[in-house]
């Protein structure tokens, strides 16, 4: 009964809870040798294991890279760099020693190409690309200076679209001196969300009508609705090549998926033999000292060939192990006799 009265008396008494008295139950991780050394060892061993796995996976991936820039005179595409002809075609021959396991991905690659440049990246109009016709007439100012030409709005506007890669490739296998076309699969090379959600064509049939009173990008030879003459559904903004191009590369040296080889005789990959790649050479890279290349690659669960991750895991893992050993030695030498 007195306690009750006292409570009232001590109105200012702080409440005695673990929180206010800063006595919350707590875990104090001590970096003591007993914890650290086994910890390091365990992490190290785990990492080494992962690293070995990654390296093996990576090694199993086959990659074939062919540069076709044509800076050297010996290069088959050399003449294309010289002249200003619009439809220069050059042929690149190569041979594959063993079966190139499928599905084979066919990439084109550029170096020294700054798709990640800030002003370049801004230069597009999403509203046009989602098929909003009202923006066809007045493209976003972001697109400047590729907003209008001759007073007419450009569709699709902006530098990214304007600079779309326009080399095309055809692959032939030479069987008994005869060229046999390797069928390319051009579907589904872009992100599903890009193809279905982010980019849409305006609801016009024919599509051409939507582009009335607009101009094609200055560097383009064909308007957007004629990008793929063979497949009507692969035109406009949902053209797969266009979609791939519009997804800007992160780094100045990049490759982009061009086609997959999944059909016919080449379903299981490219058999050993001689091949010839026919390139219609349009895209200029010499001016900025860039290079162009094509890449054949198959993929694993972790993507294309990349040994780095495996090596990194190995290195960090072995560092951990080394550290634990070092600490063990130092600790054994210097530990204080008092410590227990």
């Amino acid at each position: 009964m007195t306690t009750m009265k006292e409570e009232g008396n001590y109105a200012n008494r702080p409440s005695n809870t673990a929180f206010t008295q800063q006595r919350l139950p707590a875990w104090q991780p001590m970096l003591s040798a007993g914890v650290v050394i086994p910890g390091f060892l365990l992490i190290g061993l785990a990492f080494i294991g992962i690293g070995v796995g990654l390296l093996i996976t990576s090694r199993s991936i086959q990659v074939l890279e062919l540069d076709y820039t044509g800076t050297e005179t010996s290069s088959p595409c050399y003449q294309c760099t010289m002249s200003n002809q619009s439809n220069c075609v050059c042929k690149l021959s190569f041979s594959i020693g063993t079966l190139f396991k499928g599905p084979v991905f066919f990439y084109y690659g550029l170096t020294n190409y700054f798709q990640n440049q800030r002003k370049y990246g801004v230069s597009k109009d999403f509203n046009q690309l989602i098929g909003d016709v009202s923006y066809f007439k007045s493209p976003s100012s972001d697109c400047q200076p590729y907003q209008r030409v001759n007073g007419k709005p450009i569709v699709p506007c902006g530098a990214i679209a304007n600079s779309m890669f326009n080399d095309t490739f055809k692959l032939y296998q030479i069987i008994n001196g005869k060229e046999e076309l390797v069928p390319f699969d051009g579907k589904g090379i872009a992100w599903w969300t890009d193809y279905n959600i982010k980019y849409r064509n305006p609801d016009y049939t024919p599509l051409k009508n939507a582009f009335n009173d607009t101009e094609k990008p200055v560097f383009w030879t064909k308007p957007a609705y004629e990008l793929d003459t063979s497949d009507a559904s692969n035109n406009g903004f949902i053209n797969q090549d266009f979609l791939v191009w519009m997804r800007r590369a992160a780094l100045p040296n990049f490759r982009k998926l061009y086609r997959r080889i999944t059909e016919g005789n080449y379903k299981d990959g490219l058999p050993a033999g001689n091949y010839s790649l026919e390139i219609s050479y349009n895209y200029p890279v010499i001016s900025f000292e860039g290079t162009k290349k094509v890449t054949f690659s198959n993929v694993s669960w972790m993507g294309g060939q990349n040994e780095f991750l495996g090596i990194a895991y190995l290195v960090i893992g072995s560092m951990c192990v080394v550290m634990s050993v070092v600490m063990l030695i130092v600790y054994a030498k210097f530990r204080f006799p008092e410590e227990d």
């Binding site: 206010t20 800063q22 139950p25 707590a26 700054f114 440049q117 590369a249 900025f288 990349n306």
Partner: protein, 1460 residues
């Protein structure tokens, strides 16, 4: 209560009010107040009082309309806000913009709105309290109603008549015109204003004094002229002009101040003089203080470094971009974008644009949320400090107050403590101990015994508590309920047992009621003196009956009589009796449970109730039975019972002793009978009350005090009425007070003066030589001085009592001047002061008193542990030297083994010489004592008595002895020493002393000392004090601490932290200071790291995007990273992280040095963190870079993993730095990660066409399906944190610093830890400061070599290892000061020293360097402290030599010692 809430806005309002007043001041210099009754019918302008502020208070800063502009304006005073707004606005410029302009505004808006919301909340609280106050009721006279009507406070106006009833709070400053009190008095309690709890008397204005009937406002037609509103609580001047033309002066005694409470007075009527914001209370109300802490200052330097890093990075990027553009020349690559106009930008122009762009991109480097986060963390820290139950004082029901919200971390970095003595170290509860009258000493042995008994009980009782109460509390975290029950049991039972507990209890109540505890009240008189008093009064009675002249009384008896009369009346004590109880007296009994035993104890220890207290045995049996209730008490039942027995014996014997000599023949009327109830005394200062209680013990009791009359009751003589002519109040310059009375027996006009002995002794009439009376006088004088020295040596406060008889003519002459002074409006104080000086001359010494001021609980322990924490403690006191020195010994500030340097000089030159000599002496000691073997032997002998018996390294003890110097300096010498020419020497001397004691120092000197140390030594200073005389010191120091004790609130008002007790300083500094500092330091460093690490990621990317200012991290992540994703964990750990537990911190005060040396946040740490940040960002950037190199990855699919990795790394980094994981830490980290992914998922799924330019639609969703993403998220943080983790692990296992050792101790089970700490302190000590350079003992080595060893070895030591190096100055103190001294030391001296110290240890020939001064080097015979006293005075002032208490010993030993 509510008044406390009106804080921040006040200052501004006040200044506004001031400026308004300034404009009015041009019109008149005074305020004229007319009664509103005369003008009730006149509307508006015609009433002069309408111009004055009304009583509505408004402390809010904003109105609804003005909030936005005003608040924004205020926020933009902060430079950082302007900077961030500038950056946000930069985003609207198309050429340079990076983010969505709206998005870029978000963080700034967020920060601004957080602050704004905080401001609104505060303002709303102020508004609420304003409303509450404005709507309180009071009675205001209304002419229309012809009576008093209830009105709100806000409706009160200047000129209104207010009727006040008992216990009402005053709504405004009111001039008292009428009181129901027959003496025309009104009592007020001013606790809310100045914290003084005693009642103050206020008087009705003189011209209304004689009013017989009730005051009628309608008949009032006078005009009041008074000064303009000001904030001086102790001053009010003016006069009232009646219609008759008669003028009457007004004093502060006539003014009732707003906020005070009417007590003891049924009804009072007054006229409002100042209202609302112009009241003195409101003008005194200052907002909280704003200080910038050391850590923040340090941080700001690093913020500037961040700015420089930012600019360098931007410049680098701009340059890079320029070159990148330049390399393409005229050939434009396809990916290059021309300017909107289609023209080609020159590389230089684009570089310039890019520079601005980069500032936007890298803005995160300047941590926008840092300032807000720090504020939040500090508020939380303040909350926790407030909530600490250990800092809560049950007696006063008060806890620590943080008045300054933003310097909590400074508490962890203190290096010097400047403490007041009285009331800070001591309780300021004065107990009369002994007195000397007319040269005869009365030792009051019985009284001393009584007090000893109180103390004994106290200590036993505490033991009991520690057995019973604290143990369960410590162990059971979860079972507070049971712990509380146990504790309440134990408090209950010990209250029953000890009367000290009752005293404690009473002192709780004294907070409310201003009554003294029994210990202070019940003085056991000295039988000898009591006889004399009786003798004297009976003789006087006899003489009065036979109408003989009083002068025939023997002079020693008359002195005794006068002495007690002076004690009784020379004060301002107010008498109240339980017959007219104050509200709170009643409350006292309501609140206190009426336990029968408490009553018994009161009876037993209150002599007046002796008659009824005969049931001792029954009460003690009751005691025992009650003990069984508390299980906790069973651990010490024997102590309990012996205590009870002791009580019985003691009390009965004491009381017999005390009352047997009292002749039973006194008539009951003269004596305070139990029925009548005892009188209670309320004094402004506790020593006044102590003296009055002392006099009462001799039956010379004060029974009534009216403004013009004091009634004293004496045995035989009955009640004597002294006509009180004047009271010349106490002030700190005069250091005395006087009353002028007409003596009822002799009819002479007599002046009684009471004051500090130093001033009174100077005012004593020089004895006429030759005649016998003169000789007697001289003898009395000399003896009294001797006793005074003795008292002081015992640590008592001494007061001298003197009197003077004035002839009628003398009085008339003086009165004339005095009246002029009293009525003057200008310079009244000075005139009164001069008038007092004129009166207090040629006094006749009556005697002196010794009052004990007891040390507060736990002061010695606190000082010891603060000192172990490396804090230098200086005591600055106004007390006299001997008292101060003794208190210093009592509270372990000075150690008996310490040598004492006493500096007393009476001229500048003397002071200079003294200081130089001390310096030489110290140098000599430094050079030789540490090296010499015999010194070690000596110290080994000494140290066997030390607290830590087996100090393992004798060299340690020896090096310690260098610091074993105490410096005592008096006020006068201090004044010389503080001179610009000497201050450096003074500081050098003072620094080499372990403790410094400045006595007799004025408030100004106190602040000068603090300022000197603070500015010259560049150290962090803390000043702690409780009285008005400490205010200046408190304000000057980096951290001011006020003790909310007895002496009012001024110190608290000026302080940053207010403590109820001195001993709480220990936990405040050692625990909370340490925590706050280490938490904030770590948080700030982490902040810098975090932002640098994040920004560097983007910087590395610039090398791969042509320095174009593009970022792979999405703008949303970039903007919200600081605000959302990474902010919570650091706030949590900044608030809750504990590096070492509170117990360990208190048990190992050495850990405090880490804060003193700023070990948690040194400048290099910023750079180490920056380097680490850059390293980590490199890892976090390049692992994804190489993992995705030459792939078809797109920009944000690549950037998002980097963001994730960075976030994980940053959070794990915090995890490494977090020392204590509570569920809140884990939760906050989990929350941060979850928040990031949630936001990312929502953001990436929300809108396919929004958020240009990044437009990261479905990116994170795809990434989450990619195993590489997880692989990256595993390896990158591990790789990034590996070095730091490895470093930490190595550091804490192999070379742990003291703090880490403390943490390891924490891990041990509680019992083991306690054992380690209590038993093997030595081991801990050696563990904490290992590797002392162990000097070979006994090997003959000469001095200088040793000296070099001594200087170099510690310098090599790591800073962390110098924990036990005594006082720690910022650079290793030991080495630096030694070097300094060594450098100054001329080779001659050291050459001279060598032979002295090595060849012949007993040869005192080294002294030549100090031969010029009078050196007294004494070694104590046994345990008395060794002492060196320098006395240099051109002319020794008083013949009575000042003998320092410590200097008694044989010179032979002394020589040995000094040679050593």
């Amino acid at each position: 209560m509510a008044r406390e809430n009106e804080d921040a806005g006040m200052a501004e309002d006040v200044s506004k009010a001031k400026s308004q007043r300034k404009s009015k001041a041009k019109e008149t210099k005074t305020r004229t107040v007319h009664a509103n009754t005369l003008h009730d019918f006149a509307k508006g302008e015609e009433n002069p009082s309408r111009r004055y502020a009304n009583n509505r208070i408004k402390t809010t800063k904003y109105t609804v309309l003005s909030f936005l502009p005003k608040n924004l304006f205020e926020q933009f005073h902060r430079l950082a806000n302007v900077y961030f707004v500038f950056i946000a606005l930069l985003n609207f410029v198309p050429v340079v913009n990076t983010f969505l302009p709206e998005l870029a505004l978000a963080p700034v808006l967020f920060i601004l709105s957080v602050t704004a919301i905080k401001d609104i909340w505060e303002d709303y609280r102020r508004h609420r309290s304003d409303m509450e106050i404005n709507h309180m009721d009071c009675l205001v006279y209304s002419r229309a109603e012809k009576g008093y009507v209830e009105k709100y406070w806000k409706e009160v106006r200047v000129g209104d008549f207010i009727r006040l009833r008992c216990n009402e709070i005053l709504p405004a400053d009111v001039l008292l015109l009428s009181s129901s009190d027959p003496d025309r008095l009104c009592h007020i309690e001013t606790a809310t204003l100045d914290g003084e709890t005693n009642l103050k008397q206020r008087q009705v204005v003189r011209s209304f004094f004689d009013l017989d009937c009730d005051f009628d406002p309608l008949k009032y037609n006078s005009v009041i002229e008074c000064e303009k509103p000001n904030n001086d609580l102790n001053r009010f001047r003016g006069y009232i002009i009646h219609q008759s033309g008669k003028k009457d002066a007004l004093y502060k005694e006539n003014l009732l101040l707003r906020g005070c409470t009417i007590r003891n007075t049924e009804e009072a009527v007054g006229i409002v003089i100042y209202a609302g914001h112009e009241t003195k209370a409101m003008l005194n109300n200052n907002g909280p203080r704003y200080k910038r802490s050391k850590l923040e200052r340090q941080m700001n330097v690093d913020v500037f470094w961040c700015v420089i890093i930012l600019l360098v990075m931007c410049l680098f990027a701009a340059l890079g971009h320029g070159l990148w553009m330049f390399q393409y020349g005229d050939k434009r690559p396809v990916f290059d974008v021309l300017s909107p106009e289609g023209t080609n930008l020159s590389p230089i122009m684009s570089a310039i644009y890019l520079f601005l762009t980069m500032i936007i991109v890298f803005q995160v480097l300047i941590p926008i949320s840092l300032f807000v986060s720090i504020e939040i963390v500090k508020i939380c820290q303040v909350y926790f400090i407030h909530q600490d139950a250990d800092l809560y004082d049950e007696e006063t029901d008060s806890h620590l107050q943080c008045r300054a919200l933003n310097i909590t971390e400074d508490l962890g970095q203190m290096q010097y403590i400047f403490s007041d003595k009285t009331g800070t170290l001591t309780e300021n509860k004065m107990v009369f101990r002994r007195c000397t009258v007319a040269g005869v000493e009365y030792s009051h042995d019985a009284n001393a015994k009584r007090i000893a008994m109180y103390q004994e009980m106290d200590s036993e009782e505490e033991e009991c508590i520690s057995h019973g109460g604290t143990l369960p509390r410590r162990d059971s975290v979860g079972s507070h309920q049971s712990a509380r029950v146990l504790r309440s049991h134990s408090t209950k039972s010990h209250r029953r047992t000890g009367s000290r507990a009752e005293a404690k209890r009473a002192s709780i109540l004294s907070k409310h009621t201003a009554f003294s505890s029994p210990m202070e009240k019940d003085i056991t008189p000295d039988p000898q003196l009591l006889d004399k008093v009786n003798d004297c009064s009976s003789q006087l009675d006899f003489m009065r009956l036979h109408s003989q002249p009083m002068s025939q009384l023997p002079s020693d008896l008359s002195d005794v009589f006068d002495f007690f009369i002076a004690l009784t009346i020379c004060n301002t004590v107010v008498v109240s009796s339980p017959n007219q109880p104050r509200q709170k007296v009643r409350m006292r009994f309501e609140l206190k449970s009426p336990v029968k035993t408490i009553e018994d104890f009161i009876k037993r220890f209150t002599p007046s109730r002796l008659t009824s207290g005969s049931n001792n045995s029954s009460s003690s049996s009751l005691n025992r039975s009650s003990n069984k209730g508390g299980s906790s008490m069973q651990s010490c039942p024997s102590a309990e019972s012996t205590l009870t027995k002791l009580n019985e014996e003691q009390s009965s014997s004491v009381m017999e002793h005390a009352f047997s000599p009292a002749p039973p023949s006194y008539d009951g009327k003269a004596f305070c009978t139990p029925d009548e109830g005892e009188l209670r005394y309320e004094a402004e200062s506790p020593d006044e009350a102590a003296l009055v209680y002392a006099a009462r013990a001799y039956k010379c009791s004060l029974v009534g005090r009216l403004p013009d009359q004091v009634t004293v009751e004496l045995p035989h003589l009955g009640k004597l009425n002294f006509e009180l002519l004047h009271t010349l109040g106490f002030d700190s310059t005069r250091k005395r007070m006087s009353v002028v009375v007409r003596h009822p027996l002799t009819d002479q006009i007599t002046v009684y003066t009471k004051g500090a002995d130093s001033v009174i002794m100077e005012l004593i009439r020089p004895p006429i030589t030759g005649n016998s009376k003169g000789r007697r006088q001289k003898k009395i004088l000399c003896r009294t001085q001797n006793y005074l020295n003795l008292y002081a040596a015992d640590g008592l406060r001494t007061l001298c009592i003197a009197k003077k008889v004035l002839s009628k003519d003398e009085y008339a002459r003086w009165l004339q001047h005095h009246l002029q002074a009293e009525t003057a409006i200008q310079r009244r104080e000075e005139l009164l002061f001069e008038s007092a000086l004129r009166l207090e001359t040629n006094l006749q010494l009556l005697g002196a008193t010794g009052i004990e001021d007891r040390l507060q609980d736990g002061v010695p322990e606190t000082i010891a542990s603060l000192r172990k924490a490396g804090l230098q403690i200086w005591v600055l006191t106004g007390d006299k030297q001997e008292t101060a020195v003794n208190i210093a010994y009592a509270c372990k500030l000075l150690d008996p083994e310490e040598e004492l340097l006493t500096l007393n000089a009476d001229s500048q030159e003397a002071c200079k010489l003294l200081l130089e000599e001390s310096l030489h002496y110290i140098q000599a000691k430094f050079l030789c004592s540490s090296g010499d073997a015999s010194a070690k032997d000596f110290h080994a002998n000494v140290s066997s008595f030390e607290i830590y018996p087996s100090s393992p390294l004798s060299s340690h003890a020896a090096s310690d002895s260098v610091h074993r110097l105490g410096l005592v300096i008096d006020g006068r010498t201090l004044a010389y020493a503080l001179d610009a020419s000497l201050e450096d020497t003074f500081l050098t001397v003072a620094r080499s002393c372990r403790s410094v004691l400045c006595c007799r120092s004025t408030p100004l000197q106190k602040s000068m000392v603090v300022k000197l140390v603070r500015n010259k030594l560049k150290v962090m200073t803390l000043a702690i004090g409780d009285g008005a005389n400490d205010v200046s010191m408190i304000q000057v120091a980096d951290v001011g601490v006020g003790i909310s004790g007895q002496e009012g609130m001024q110190a608290v008002m000026a302080s940053d932290f207010a403590l109820p007790r001195f001993r709480y300083l220990q936990k405040l500094l050692l625990v909370h200071g340490h925590w706050c500092y280490s938490r904030l330091a770590n948080m700030i460093l982490y902040f810098f790291y975090k932002n640098a690490m994040f920004v560097a990621l983007i910087f590395w990317y610039q090398f791969y995007c042509g320095f174009s200012g593009s970022a792979m991290i999405d703008q949303w992540y970039l903007i919200f990273f600081n605000l959302m994703f990474s902010s919570f964990p650091q706030l949590i750990s900044g608030t809750l992280d504990k590096d070492v537990s509170a117990e360990t911190l208190q048990q190992l005060p050495q850990l405090y040095t880490s804060g003193q040396n700023s070990e948690e946040y040194k400048p290099y740490m910023f750079w180490m963190n920056m380097i680490d940040a850059f390293y980590q960002s490199l890892v976090c950037f390049f692992i994804p870079y190489f993992a995705y190199t030459d792939s078809d990855v797109d920009l944000f699919t690549w950037g998002t993993p980097i963001t994730t990795i960075a976030l994980l790394t940053i959070l794990l980094h915090l995890g490494i730095e977090t020392k204590t994981w509570t569920w809140m830490n884990c939760l906050s980290i989990a929350f941060s990660v979850a928040l990031f992914f949630t936001v990312a998922l929502c953001y990436n799924a929300s809108c396919p066409t929004c958020y240009p330019p990044s437009n990261p639609y479905w990116t994170i969703q795809r990434l989450l399906q990619d195993p590489v993403f997880y692989l990256l998220c595993t390896i990158a943080p591990v790789a990034a944190l590996l070095p730091r983790y490895f470093y930490r692990a190595c550091h804490s296992t192999l070379f742990p610093n003291p703090v880490q050792v403390g943490r390891q101790l924490d891990k041990l089970p509680a019992d083991t830890r306690r054992n380690i700490l209590s038993l093997s302190r030595v081991k801990m000590g050696s563990w904490l400061s290992p590797r002392q350079p162990s000097l070979p003992v006994g090997k003959p080595q000469n001095c200088t070599q040793k000296d070099q060893r001594g200087t170099e070895a510690p310098a090599k030591r790591a800073g962390a290892e110098s924990v036990q190096q005594g006082p720690a100055h910022p650079p290793d103190p030991h080495s630096s000061s030694l070097k300094e001294l060594g450098a100054k030391n001329d080779p001659l001296l050291s050459e001279e020293l060598q032979p002295a110290s090595t060849k012949d240890p007993s040869d005192p020939s080294w002294v030549p360097s100090t031969q010029m001064d009078r050196v007294q080097l004494n070694l104590p015979p046994s345990r008395a402290p060794p002492c060196v006293t320098y006395v240099r005075s051109s002319e020794t002032a008083l013949s009575c030599e000042q003998t320092p208490p410590c200097s008694r010993g044989t010179t032979a030993e002394a020589e040995l010692y000094t040679a050593v």
